[in-house]
Structure formats: structure tokens, C-alpha cells
Symmetry: C2
Subunit: 220 residues, 2 copies
DNA sequence: GATTGTGAAGAGCTTCACAGCT
DNA sequence: AGCTGTGAAGCTCTTCACAATC
């Protein structure tokens, strides 16, 4: 088993930003090496911070040169947990669910959609992203059979908690919640909220309070 | 002018969570008063933290009783910057843009969509959310005429920086960025990123590192 | 008895600065 | 000269604890 270093939340968040930068560098066949200064500039982070973050996941650089991009890219994907392929199910085949599926690179990032569920009889049976939409009652059996890791909650707020509980009871380990509502979950289930309303409110706040330091304008 | 207290980023983020709780309490005609403990439980925050946050925006409670819900709701909306109505323009009428418009309460939250732009000639002229889609070249004139405050960037990553610069040059004060790419912006322009890819990566990370403390699983 | 408001302590994160390596 | 790795300082945020209040 590899070293079990503690990666803090702020560090984890920045790692995803570095990854995005590295990904475009690697894809375009750019630089062999990148310095903490360069990486930081692209991600909006101080260079010393970048070095601390990279050190925390075991990334080693070369004095006077920087970090080897391909190698760092791999190390980073492993640290974030993208070395394995995650299976996800989508609950709610409405606008938000479909927008998510249309998102570029959803599949190439190590995530695989294995089932779609919806409440409305008019939608059940139709195909979304190549999958036949199943009725809600099929959730437990399908989740168990497929061994899905994540559940994507893209239903109206009033149904969100209920759907979340069904997913958790079916053995899901993490939830991506699009409903503008905080979910009450057992501690062993991870969850990340994506809430457009909240994003707008943050924008309103930041615009109102012309914040002096312009760092960390980045959200999820 | 009211007191210009500094509200920290973490506090601002929690305020939006409290607001969500309060909103549902007020809407359902629930409790007259709410204690810091109750509000905290619903939002996943410690009670002392809630009191500090509320104190920072001038919310005053009553010992032994709590905070008056309606009053607190108003104070909070004002602190976040929702007392005024913000005008926004959408650039990119694809899946993501449309999903956003379909989001519940988009209009009732103090935000108003005043224009939609798209690059594709096949989309220009069509109606989205009751607005005729305009070509990209119309951005500067329309933004200026409408006095829009925010720009919603819902275009492919390769176009995002370019679109952002056009919006900024047209007088936009804040950007909601859906492209999975960090935007380079002048300091006076606020920006909030909503990145599904990043959300998934955070979920992968949290699921991998079965984090002991389950707080702050909440994202944007 | 329940709950607020807050100073003080504690924990965590970021920045600084510089020795050491290439 | 350029860059990394890191101890130490500085700063911010959170938790604790309790007197004051209703």
C-alpha cells in the first residue's frame, strides 16, 4: 500500500486545477517540464504553494528545471483517484441530467454512465446517452448489479433527499447533487453539490463586495 | 451607507447555505424563530459558527429564543447582494445554457436574463427562454444598451477566454464560467466557475480518501 | 432552561525566505 | 542563474467555553 499522506481539502481543490492545466499541456504535446511558477501562474496560485501541494502527493521536481509534465500528470491523476474507472448512475433525465451527459470529456475522464432513471412514465423506456431510461423502482437492483460507485441526483429539490436515501441504501458510495438543497447523509457517503443558484449568489456577493484580493474566485 | 464589515469567503459561502434553509422555512410558513443550533443542523455547520456568521452581517438574535426567520432572511439577502435585480446575458445556447435557464427559481432569485448569444448561424434568430438568439458580434452593443451586470459563459473551452474578454470589454462586471478552463481576468471582474468535471474529480477524491470528518462536503 | 454573543485558545492554511541542488 | 524543498513566521478560520440575557 502506498503512503497514506493526508491531503487537505484546499490542496485537493488546487490539484484539480493543476490537472486541468497539465492536461492541456500534455494533450497539445507541449513542454517536457513545467516549473512551479509556470504551473501556478496558469492556475492562479503562488509558486511556493504549488511546490507544497506537489510535494504532498509525492511529486518530485528537479532543481533548476521543474517537474516532468507527463510524470506529474500521472501522479496527480492517481492522487485524485482517477486511476480507476468510476461507474455512475443518473437519476433524473431532465435538462440538467442531459446537459451533464453532453459535457465534453465526461467519458474520457475515467467516469462511465451505466444507468439512467426517471420518475415520469413518459420518459421511461426512452434512450438517453445510449441507455434506456429505467423507472425509479429499478434503482436498488440495477445499482447493485452494476456495482455503480456514484449517484447523480438531478431531480427536483423536493425529491432529492428521498432519492439520495434510496441510492445510499442501494450501496452507492458518493453523490453528485444538483438539487439546491443540503442532503442529510451518513458519514461514509461522500457528496459534492453543484448548485447554479448558489453560484449566482456567490457572483452577486463578489460583485457587490469588490473584493480586493482577486484570488480564489474559483468554485466547483 | 451601511457598515462596511468584511465578510470572509467561507462566511459568504455558508450564508448562501443558510439562505437556502431559511428560504424553505419562510416559504412553507414555518417557524417564527430559528436557533443557531437548528439552522446549523440543517446546513451542516456548528452552532457557534452560525452565530459568528450571523453577527458578521448584523443579524441579532434573542437569548433563549433564536433569530426571527423573516427578518433574518431579509438581512441575509441584503448581505449577499440580492436586494437588487441583476441582469445577465448568456453566451452559448447549447445544452448547458439551456439547462441553466430551466433551473427552478432562476428568475425569482433576483436574476434576469436579458440576452442570449450564439456562434452558430443555425441557432441565431431562434428563441431561447423567450429571447431571440443574437450573433456574437452583437455582444458589445447589446450588453451596453441593456446595462447587463453578469455574463454567463457556456461555450466550448477553446472559446471561453475569447468570449470572456469580449464581455469584459463590453462592461460586464462578473462572469459565471461553465467552461472547464481557468479564465485570465482583470482584478475588478468577479468570476465563479461551475465545472462538472471538477465536481466529479472532487467526488472521486473524497470517495477515495474516506475522509474522517464529513463536514464541508458541499461545493458550489 | 434555552440561547445568544464573544474573547481566547486551537487548528489549519499560506506566505516568506533561503539553503541547497543542477 | 534558475528552481526546488522546507522550516518558520504570519495569518485566517474554527472551536471552545462561559458570562449575559430572555
Amino acid at each position: 500500500m502506498p503512503q497514506t499522506i493526508r491531503i487537505s481539502k484546499p490542496t485537493a481543490r488546487r490539484l484539480t486545477m493543476y490537472l486541468r492545466v497539465l492536461q492541456s499541456v500534455v494533450e497539445t504535446g507541449g513542454m517536457e517540464c513545467i516549473s512551479s511558477h509556470q504551473l501556478g501562474a496558469a492556475a492562479g496560485v503562488a509558486d511556493a504553494q504549488v511546490r507544497k501541494d506537489l510535494a504532498s502527493i509525492g511529486g518530485r521536481g528537479q532543481s533548476g528545471v521543474g517537474y516532468r509534465t507527463r510524470e506529474l500528470h500521472e501522479t496527480m491523476r492517481r492522487a485524485i483517484g482517477l486511476q480507476k474507472s468510476w461507474r455512475a448512475v443518473l437519476v433524473g433525465a431532465g435538462n440538467i441530467g442531459r446537459a451533464l451527459l453532453a459535457y465534453p470529456r465526461f467519458h474520457t475522464e475515467g467516469f462511465e454512465l451505466v444507468a439512467v432513471f426517471d420518475h415520469a412514465p413518459s420518459v421511461v423506456g426512452k434512450r438517453v446517452a445510449g441507455l434506456a431510461v429505467q423507472p425509479m423502482k429499478a434503482i436498488p437492483a440495477t445499482v447493485r448489479r452494476s456495482g455503480a460507485h456514484f449517484g447523480i441526483v438531478a431531480v427536483p429539490p423536493s425529491d432529492a433527499q428521498n432519492v439520495a436515501e434510496i441510492l445510499v441504501a442501494s450501496g452507492i458510495r458518493g453523490l453528485l447533487n444538483f438539487a439546491p438543497r443540503a442532503l442529510q447523509l451518513p458519514a461514509h457517503v461522500a457528496s459534492v453539490n453543484v448548485d447554479f443558484t448558489e453560484a449566482f449568489q456567490r457572483l452577486a456577493f463578489e460583485t457587490t463586495n469588490q473584493s480586493s484580493r482577486s484570488k480564489r474566485t474559483t468554485g466547483a
